[in-house]
């Protein structure tokens, strides 16, 4: 009898070992972006099976990582869900405001996301992580500091260019409450910067001369792209925790100080009346300083990242100085 017991124990162990070996399948959208690639690298190291997709191109990431170029709105997109049994979807593929017109962005960001969420519901994906942005809160003179996740989203009220960003966030919230089985995590990070980042702030910090609104110097928050990738992977590692989370460090730097640390010359630009700097930016067509983001360089939008930090035991490893050093060195290298 004791012998039989031993065999039974061994068998259970071997079953558990087999179960442990089953690698979770994760779909990552927006694979062409540097944040997605950092995230995919980390997920692969953490024993996830990753499938990468992007609407721009099939990205070459690694031999063991399937990569597809897909249009979310085409029927072929569902084939990827049929082929793989996804445990999680990490939706980083948001079309930037510099690409296409508002109709294209709405189709890609809102209708495309809805299609993605519908497939997640249909194929019983247990968790979805969505990359939103702190832009959704809107930059206003009347904002209190340390905005928490319950703060109303005012961005579309202030700029129509950000309307699809807010809609994407709202859509995610609708699915979060409507389909509780799909554990939804909506991440609203502050400015993501660092090597390879091509968002607005990344492009701005890469320049040598940028506009500064006369008489305004708002404090800002920055997160290194590697830290953001860490944050996403940590969020993925705790499938049962869901909700809306700001992701930001407990550190701040004013815009002019940021420019100084990144070796950028700030050129004063007329700041009042309100419409004038927006009009100038629109006429000049500055990509890194677009008219619809002018208020974000005028009034602070400081978010409180403590809920995420506590829930996922997250704290950024790279300091602000480290982020700015990259942009400083980038300019030095250009001169060489």
């Amino acid at each position: 009898m004791p012998k039989a017991k031993k065999t039974e124990t061994v068998d259970r162990q071997s079953v558990e070992t087999v179960q442990e070996k089953k690698r979770p399948q994760v779909l990552v959208t927006g694979a062409a972006g540097v944040l997605a690639q950092e995230t995919i690298n980390r997920l692969s190291q953490k024993k996830y099976d990753v499938v990468a997709i992007d609407f721009r191109r099939a990205v070459q990431i690694g031999d063991d990582i399937p990569s597809y170029k897909v249009d979310f709105l085409k029927r072929g997109f569902e084939d990827i869900f049929r082929q793989h049994k996804f445990d999680a979807v990490i939706h980083l593929g948001r079309v930037g405001t510099d690409i296409g017109g508002s109709h294209f962005r709405h189709n890609a960001n809102v209708r495309g996301t809805q299609k993605l969420f519908d497939l997640c519901v249909k194929y019983e994906v247990s968790q979805v992580i969505v990359l939103s942005s702190y832009f959704v809160y809107g930059a206003s003179a009347y904002n209190p500091a340390l905005l928490d996740e319950d703060t109303p989203l005012k961005a579309s009220d202030l700029s129509l260019n950000l309307i699809d960003t807010v809609e994407l966030d709202n859509l995610s919230q609708i699915y979060m409450y409507k389909y509780r089985r799909v554990r939804m995590k909506i991440l609203r990070p502050c400015n993501i910067a660092g090597p390879g980042v091509r968002n607005n702030i990344g492009r701005l910090l890469s320049r040598k001369v940028v506009p500064v609104l006369w008489g305004f110097n708002p404090v800002m928050q920055f997160l290194h792209v590697s830290d953001m990738a860490d944050a996403i992977v940590k969020a993925c590692g705790k499938p049962n925790i869901y909700g809306i989370f700001n992701v930001a460090p407990n550190d701040w730097a004013p815009y002019k100080e940021v420019l100084r640390r990144c070796d950028i010359i700030g050129v004063p630009m007329v700041s009042i009346p309100d419409a004038l700097p927006m009009w100038i930016a629109r006429m000049a067509g500055w990509e890194a300083f677009p008219s619809y983001l002018v208020n974000y360089f005028k009034y602070p939008v400081i978010v409180d990242g403590s809920r995420f930090a506590k829930a996922f035991n997250f704290s950024p490893r790279r300091s602000l100085e480290e982020i700015f050093l990259h942009y400083r060195e980038m300019k030095t290298r250009r001169w060489v």
């Binding site: 003179a141 009347y142 209190p144 500091a145 340390l146 006369w214 008489g215 305004f216 110097n217 708002p218 404090v219 407990n250 550190d251 701040w252 730097a253 004013p254 100080e257 100084r260 700041s271 009042i272 009034y299 602070p300 400081i302 300091s319 602000l320 100085e321």
Partner: protein, 273 residues
Amino acid sequence: MSLASTVLKKAFVSKDVKEAHNRITKEVGSFGYDAWGYSKDGAEIGLGVFKKLYDHYFRVETEGLENIPTKGRVLIIANHSGQLPLDGALIAIAVATNPHGPRAPRIMIERFFPTVPFVGNLLNMGGAVIGDPVNCIRMLRRDECVVVFPEGIRGSGKLFKKRYKLQRFGFGFMHIAMETDTPIVPVGVVGCEETMPSLANVKPLAKMLGLPYVPVTIPVPLPSKVYLRFGKPLDFSGVVKTEKQVIENVETVKDAIRGLIDEGLSRKQGWFH
């Protein structure tokens, strides 16, 4: 630190001011700023500039500074006057140089200020914050020392004929004090009413410019002697059960401030003394 900060520090920050400022324990980020735009360097320069006005121009006399807790959350509630927020600046200097334990004062300012170029940023750097209840609660939860003028523009923009008559108090500060278990230190400010006496308010012009008021007054504040009297801390902690209870508590604070103003007025000997 920028070149401008270095030059301004050399010009305005005395050894005493530097010592007092260094004694303030205030949590800031890696660049010396906090989430509301408070700057360690900026606050030191502001302290240096206003300390000279505090000592030599307004010749401020204080009493009861020992009543301000040296740590933990506290609301300092004062009467408002003088068209410009000089009373706020003088209370801030008194709090930041308090020999019993200096603290970084966080003054709640009008919503209008952040929209004005330079002014909003400079006020933020010195520790002032837009007067939003959310800001006030978040700072108190971080054990800050918050200064509130519940009369708001009703107090600062009132005409000279209404001097030292407390205007209607907002109730928000009391709700916050009760909900966050924060002690209230009442302050009576005497002297600021005489710095910029206003004879009239040009309302149409104020409306056109988007300003809270446009007073008919002198362009530069007069050197009136200022008396700041800090009262004993008042405790109203507890759950808000009825609005009536809140109103009664606000009246208690108003009575305390009235008493402190009367004490200050008894010391005042004429317009400038």
